[in-house]
Symmetry: C2
Subunit: 205 residues, 2 copies
């Protein structure tokens, strides 16, 4: 693509560096901003800059926060001794939106993935192990995605804390609510039969 | 979606105002920026701001430009008396990439579309009519999309300049190069038969 303006070209190049946005989409977005009032562009750029420069990660759970400890970690109504281990902040938001969990989180910041050059030291695993060894935690819930990388990360953490007295669980895998059995994949269906639960429990939840 | 940080929420809200980007995608993009070095965010925001504040539209053809007259309008190797009328700058880029046109452009900035509240006065039609009436233009090529709005705009302009001696043409409609006849829509196939061209011409182009 040949641009008639260097300023336009630079803007498109920068926007096209965002994941999932190609040069055509970038051009469409940039031309949209050109048609809008200047204030919209200024609001957008100052919001991005303020976020990138001032955002803090919670000292305790590594969730994104505006203060040293996030709102979940300082909330006395939540069980601080039940910790759900998740990959990133989007998982925290997903679980929070279910309103089914009253414990706290530990955000690892990714999964162990040698293919992408992510090793254990790139993740917040040490602080999790320290938390468990301190004896303040009763239960640890693994809520990583059930992929090779997720399972590897679960296993790596498990190996380091298996001597502790903490209860370790993982979230249940099974058929999604509302899904037809015939379209479910074999692994999921197999697990949901192996890990069947008493009927009385299922009608309560 | 509940955010754990006001800064994050503001950034997501702003990004989600871009066309075709929902709140989930906006969150993904913003979290990506959080993982990248601060410099990437600063480059992005300063590029957008510089573009929005400093970009100029060519006085002659209304194309986006870095100077008062765009590179195409000041190029002496191009026929300044053959003008291609297009909707927006993306069309200029599309035609330029074919390297088949050695005239200049006139960017209308949209199409007449009462449904979207776009009337003739919102477009750069007056300056085009003035150009034609000045007698400096030999040929006018309509290259708007062949939709109801495009045809309306073509007709509106035609009505205003039909007394001038300018040659008026439109780009050819027909079967795309490489396309199978059986999958072409009837209107396009019909037009491509009606507007058939001598075989000798087709093997030259």
């Amino acid at each position: 693509m040949e641009f008639s303006s260097k300023l336009l070209q630079t803007a498109v190049d920068e926007v096209a560096q965002l994941p999932g946005i190609g040069r055509r989409t970038a051009l469409r977005l940039v031309l949209h901003l050109m048609r809008q009032p200047l204030s919209q562009t200024l609001h957008l750029t100052s919001a991005l800059q303020a976020m990138r420069e001032n955002i803090i990660f919670c000292k305790n759970c590594h969730n994104i926060s505006d203060s040293e400890l996030c709102e979940i970690c300082v909330n006395n109504n939540r069980s601080q001794d039940i910790v759900c281990v998740v990959e990133d902040i989007r998982d925290v938001m997903a679980i929070e939106s279910t309103a089914s969990f009253r414990g706290v989180y530990h955000v690892l910041g990714g999964k162990i993935s040698p293919m992408d050059g992510v090793g254990p030291s790139d993740l917040k695993i040490n602080t999790l192990v320290d938390k468990v060894r301190s004896g303040r935690i009763k239960e640890l819930i693994f809520a990583l995605s059930s992929t090779m990388e997720g399972d590897t990360t679960n296993f790596y953490i498990f190996k380091q804390i298996q001597d502790s007295k903490v209860i370790i669980s993982t979230i249940a895998r099974g058929i999604s609510v509302g899904d037809e059995l015939e379209y479910a994949d074999e692994v999921t269906l197999g697990r949901s039969i192996t890990n069947r639960i008493p009927f009385e429990l299922s009608i309560k939840s």
